[in-house]
């Protein structure tokens, strides 16, 4: 039923068309979950490119499909979820056509993941060292001793004091922030080309957040890896990522250069998101801003724009209610932006529309 009213849209992305610089190319990715109320699409025809060394932020509220998209890319979407369409090309090779064994060789080696909850990310009954060594030896033909030395170096690199001795410690002997560092060390163990960090700082306190981001930043730069940072917090995106893609209800609805987005978001949803960022450099009156309403129920078929019921601009507008917007190109003050909105780039509706 959802299939009927979703048109496949060919994106005219601000990313340059796929060329030698393109690391990952996602085309028409669609991920569905089988539920008691039918099949629900968590990711709906998402397309984008990541260039080598690029830092891309995927921003959206909880349930917008960010994590489902990340897990789909590495083929780890858990049942009842399933990737039902699209291509995921890493250096031109489609990951979807790979066997589990082939994909395993990619995961943790060419594409690494950093997860949200460092507390539950480790096997509780194996030492940190054993798990690091395991990750290294899964991809590199090295002896246990060599892998252990590498593991100690990695731990030291992410700022774990007394690294060689701490290899023998178990996960519960590490604090949350330290565990997140270890996760990052693990992700970087085999020099990945792409690091996907799924809300890596959400479970951490603010000081640790800053440290972890800084470390991620440094390590990605040092190794020349591309970074895909998934977050619901626009605040940490500024100054950290080159470009931002905003996700809403399983679709990318705005794709902009990071500076362009913060200067002037093209999609009304992005603007609402920006209003929700707590700014310490500005005095804020009253309550923190929120976006009224919730994400559309994915099990229910809808027509038109998925953001229409919550949109300050198009709510009640006949076009928004009936026609699904395609990706419009907008010349913003800081460059070209793309937005899936009938009124992309407009901050107010003109009377005649």
């Amino acid at each position: 039923m959802i299939e009927d009213n979703v048109k496949t849209i060919t994106l005219d992305s601000p990313d340059k068309p796929a060329d030698e610089d393109t690391l990952l190319e996602v085309r028409g990715l669609r991920t569905e979950f089988r539920t008691t109320r039918g099949r629900v699409a968590a990711v709906r025809d998402v397309s984008f490119n990541i260039r080598r060394g690029q830092r891309l932020a995927i921003v959206g509220e909880s349930g917008s499909g960010k994590s489902a998209m990340a897990m789909s890319i590495v083929g780890l979407i858990q049942p009842p979820g399933r990737v039902t369409g699209g291509e995921i090309l890493l250096n031109g090779t489609d990951l979807r056509g790979m066997t589990d064994r082939e994909l395993s060789a990619v995961r943790g080696s060419r594409i690494s993941l950093v997860f949200q909850d460092p507390m539950s990310a480790f096997d509780p009954i194996r030492t940190i060292g054993a798990q690091l060594v395991e990750s290294i030896r899964a991809h590199q033909p090295v002896s246990n001793r060599v892998a252990r030395r590498q593991a100690a170096d990695l731990l030291g690199e992410v700022g774990v004091a007394n690294a060689a001795n701490r290899l023998a410690d178990y996960p519960h002997q590490y604090s949350g922030g330290m565990r997140q560092r270890v996760l990052i060390a693990m992700a970087l163990a085999n020099s990945p080309e792409l690091v996907i960090a799924d809300e890596p700082t959400t479970a951490l306190d603010v000081t640790t957040q800053a440290q972890v981001l800084e470390m991620l930043d440094r390590l990605v730069t040092d190794r020349g890896a591309a970074l895909m940072l998934i977050t619901h917090n626009l605040g940490i995106v500024a100054g950290f990522c080159d470009s931002v893609k905003v996700m809403y209800a399983g679709q990318l609805i705005e794709e902009s250069d990071s500076r362009a987005l913060f200067a002037s978001a093209a999609h009304p949803y992005s603007r609402e998101l920006l209003k929700c960022v707590l700014r310490t450099d500005r005095r804020q009156e009253g309550l923190l801003s929120t976006i009224p309403g919730t994400l559309p129920d994915p099990t229910e078929a809808f027509q038109g724009c998925s953001f229409e019921p919550r949109c300050p601009l198009g709510k009640g507008n006949a076009t928004c209610q009936s026609v699904e917007p395609s990706l419009h190109t907008v010349q913003g003050p800081q460059g070209i932006q793309l937005a899936k909105c009938h009124f992309a780039g407009q901050h107010e509706l003109k009377e005649n529309q």
Partner: protein, 338 residues
């Protein structure tokens, strides 16, 4: 740590004391007079009264219990009215047979349950899963003594694959020199391979009979534990590090799921040793179980009491051992984390 150990010992002592008090009380209140049993139907009242006096049966109940307790603590569990042997010796000669049988049974159950449970979950084949669950339902519902009878009828009497209910060895084969009391191990140690194979042949049927119940229980438990573990976040994280499905299953899912089997297995060991009473009887296994059945039939107080005391001690020891094993294999417990 010391406080915890003291607490555990206190608890253990209380358990054993409670069990012995309960059995002591129960046995005294059952109809029937042991003095009459010993004296025989023809003995006159005077003889019986004298017997009662020498046995201490004329004393008030609390005093009897006190006497029993204090002599127990000195290692004297009394003597069997029916055989005249001391309970300690009786139990000692019978215990190895029971332990050998119970351990083999539970060991078989654990191995089969983990292998079948793991295969059923890993293969994701619904058929294998349904088969396992059906088999375990059937097994859980079958009383062991009935299984024992069926096994003997089918595999021994009709097919002749296994020996009949003749105990631990074929008639005419001498037991190996005692070292552990386990015939299989003792035979191996002294190099008597003929005796070893005979002992194993005799062990297989009763051990499998005992294994059926624990297997049914453990395989279900392990299956559901595995499925739970596979849903843990660290499993997906391990996959994201590039480990294959099989590797994650074997190195992370299985060990974590096995942890939860320890406590249950410990209880099953205790149960197999104390609860295999009827199975032992059916197979003519000269263990504590047979001893108990005979003692109950003959109202042999001291023996029954001794066995109950032994069972209580066994449960306490086994659950203590389970804790020790836990702290050895689970780093969180070792460190005192909840």
């Amino acid at each position: 740590m010391i406080k915890m150990i003291l607490k555990r010992f206190g608890l253990a002592a209380a358990t054993i004391l409670g069990a012995s008090l309960f059995s002591f009380f129960l046995l005294r209140k059952l109809p029937g007079d042991p003095a009459r049993l010993i004296g025989g139907d023809l003995a006159d009242e005077q003889t019986i009264a004298t017997l009662r006096q020498t046995m201490g049966l004329d004393q008030p109940f609390p005093l009897q219990f006190w006497n029993y307790l204090s002599s127990s603590l000195h290692g004297d569990l009394g003597f069997s009215y029916s055989t005249g042997q001391s309970v300690g010796t009786l139990v000692q000669t019978r215990l190895p047979a029971t332990v050998e049988l119970g351990m083999s049974g539970v060991f078989t159950a654990v191995v089969l349950a983990t292998v079948f449970g793991a295969v059923a979950v890993y293969r994701k084949k619904r058929g294998a899963d349904i088969l396992l669950r059906a088999a375990s339902s059937l097994a859980m519902g079958s009383p062991p003594f009935w299984l024992a009878l069926v096994a003997i009828l089918l595999l021994s009497v009709n097919l002749g694959i296994f020996p009949g209910p003749e105990g631990r060895l074929s008639p005419g084969i001498a037991p190996p020199p005692t070292f552990t009391g386990f015939y299989t191990l003792d035979a191996l140690k002294s190099g008597q391979f003929g005796t070893f194979f005979d002992a194993v042949r005799h062990l297989i049927l009763p051990a499998f009979t005992i294994a059926v119940g624990p297997f049914a229980f453990l395989s279900r438990l392990f299956r559901s534990q595995l499925r739970n573990t596979l849903r843990e976040p660290f499993i997906v994280v391990a996959r994201s590090r590039g480990l294959t499905r099989g590797s994650v299953f074997l190195h992370h899912a299985v060990p974590n799921s096995l942890l939860s089997l320890i406590a249950v297995t410990a209880m099953l060991v205790a149960e197999a040793m104390t609860g295999s009473v009827l199975v032992e009887k059916v197979f003519g296994w000269p263990g504590v179980g047979s001893l108990t059945v005979d003692a109950i039939l003959q109202k042999d107080f001291s023996v029954v009491q001794g066995v109950i005391l032994l069972s209580a001690a066994l449960y306490v020891t086994v659950s203590f051992l389970a804790d020790v094993v836990y702290s050895a294999v689970d780093p969180r417990i070792r460190a005192g984390v909840k």
